[in-house]
């Protein structure tokens, strides 16, 4: 491209101004990447939700239990092909800041229900045979430098006392967005030690259905089945269940979009101003280009090209920094296990940066294109 040096030469004309504008783009796109990551972390449950899974919880609240006796009835419901259950344990490992979710699970059905979590067969076998065994996610292992064979004490908060577990296996996700910060242990172990009040109770059921199209009908059937009982249920798809969790944290989506919008608007003003100054300073040079025979369209493309180059380099730098930041993992110590900047978000960020580049450059480029050679050459 024989005109490349024209764009690059102007790029380095005012080094400080270029650096500051690049910095504005980099900071804005870093923030965009960070916000997109936080949004992804909040919506992670939505992304990984299985279309063929329903979650059955107590109608009063998720923190209210359900009887384990429901399992048989659920399994017999038309369209249900598998049932498993889990309890929230809510224990503390060493320090309250070391948050991670611990679930008391029904081992075999749980593994079948969530095939996206991969556990080596020999490790799973060891877990099944170990009453105080545990399976832990690979991110958790990295975080606490655990290994198979370690004995982990966890202090119960809902279920008092110190509970000790053997790490028998490590699971990993089959997709990058899978949460690998969970800690699973046997429901049977919990039932053995728990307060008599909790005997025979579980936290929630997950059921697999034969056809996602029947989800609403099956959910209705399940809730009707337990209507007017002491433990009424609320059944919804895994996605709706996850969305409910996100809503509990407030309108994160709106917050993130608002912050992102303000940042990009400010960036547009800053870059637009920079480009306007840059073009105004060079009116005479642009007039000379036109006098020499460069077309109006060329001058428009030249100015827009400079604006786009700023956007691409600054935006790319910001997204790169953002990616590097997210590679360090969850900065909250477990509140956002899925802390991952997706390629889709990177592409969206780059497109947004380029859009700002076009928007910021279009008016100065237009005025450069409309420039009358005679008028510009007359200016001193």
């Amino acid at each position: 491209m024989k005109y490349r040096h024209l764009i690059f030469a102007n790029f380095f004309r005012k080094k400080i101004r270029t650096t500051l504008t690049l910095g504005s783009f980099a900071v804005a796109l870093f923030l965009f990447g960070f916000l997109a990551t936080v949004r992804g972390a909040f919506n992670q449950g939505l992304e990984v939700a299985g279309a063929n899974r329903l979650v059955v919880v107590n109608k009063v609240s998720i923190i209210q239990p359900l009887p384990i006796s429901y399992k048989e009835k659920l399994a017999q419901t038309a369209g249900v092909t598998l049932v498993t259950h889990a309890n929230w344990f809510g224990g503390v490992y060493q320090d309250e800041r070391n948050f991670f979710p611990q679930f008391a699970i029904e081992d075999e059905t749980y593994r079948q229900m969530f095939p996206e979590f991969i556990v080596p067969d020999d490790q799973w076998k060891a877990f099944v045979g170990d009453r105080v065994g545990a399976i832990v996610g690979q991110d958790l292992v990295k975080r606490f430098h655990w290994k198979v064979g370690d004995r982990i004490p966890i202090k119960g908060t809902i279920f008092p006392g110190t509970w000790e577990f053997n790490i028998d296996g490590i699971y990993k996700g089959s997709r990058p967005q899978d949460d690998t910060t969970q800690f699973w242990f046997h429901y049977k172990y919990l039932e053995e030690r728990e307060n008599p009040y909790w005997k025979g109770l579980i936290g929630w059921y997950t059921v697999r259905i034969d056809n996602p199209d029947n989800a609403a009908r099956i959910a209705g059937t399940i809730d009707d089945l337990f209507a007017n009982s002491p433990w009424e249920t609320k059944t919804e798809t895994e996605k709706a269940f996850a969305a409910g969790f996100v809503k509990q944290a407030g309108n994160i989506e709106f917050l993130i979009m608002s912050i992102g919008g303000v940042v990009f608007f400010t960036l547009l003003l800053v870059t637009g101003n920079t480009m306007a100054i840059a073009v105004r300073e060079r009116m005479r040079e642009l007039a000379v280009l036109k006098a020499v025979g460069f077309s109006d369209g060329f001058v428009l493309a030249l100015v827009l090209g400079e604006s786009l180059l700023l956007a691409a380099i600054g935006g790319g730098l910001g997204l790169l920094l953002s990616k590097l930041f997210t590679l360090r993992g969850d900065p909250t110590g477990g509140m956002m296990p899925y802390f991952y900047l997706s390629p889709a978000a990177v592409i969206l960020g780059l497109l947004a940066a380029l859009a700002v580049g076009v928007a910021a450059g279009i008016l100065p480029a237009w005025s450069a294109m409309r420039l009358r050679v005679v008028d510009a050459l007359r200016r001193v």
Binding site: H5, A9, R13, E285, V288, V292, G293, F294, D296, V373
Partner: protein, 240 residues
Amino acid sequence: MVRVDGRGDGNSLVRVRGLDKKYQRGSEEIHVLQGLNLDVDAGDFVAFMGPSGSGKTTLLNLLGGIDLPSAGSITVSGDEITHMSASKLTAWRARHVGFIFQMYNLIPVLTAFQNVELPLLLTKLSKAERRQHVEAALGIVGLADRMHHYPRQLSGGQEQRVGIARAIVADPTFLLCDEPTGDLDRKSADEVMDLLTRLVREHGKTVLLVTHDPVAAQRAQTVLHLDKGVLVEGRAAEVR
């Protein structure tokens, strides 16, 4: 042969007939050029003189196709440029006109080589061919050894010589020089005028020069004075 009476034989390189240029300043209409006629043959060296505001630069701008007349016609090498569309006029300028400005108007972030190369970017020449042309142009103006210098690293006279190299590199039909020595000391001005004279003598270029400087004007074959919007023939100097 230069004529200002509108009786040229039709074979002139530049043929101007009944050229009018008016400006509106508030409610006042200013007639800068009024029914101006001019015939210039290929290889002529013409200087236009006149007081400030007499319309010299306006005439040059009209001849170079960067301004439009209020009336009249300009024909260059058989092309009537006064009715060309803006895009055609741009392409025509690239092919036929070499501009030399008082303030040099080099692009400060480009080297001498890159400044001179600019008009060639609009051609289909290969990179190697462009290099050859640029080196030749810089050789003619005596700056082959300064091709990688930026304008800020050159003296005023050298900058103007780079400007001249840029004007001649694409071998245009004629050169339009607007006060090319106006910002130079006497020595540098003489060097630039030597160069323009040499371009006429040795390379057969057609040069139209606007100047306030009588010494510079002396180098031209013909000196024309702009007076009340029309050209009046002055003294002709033998350059050969």
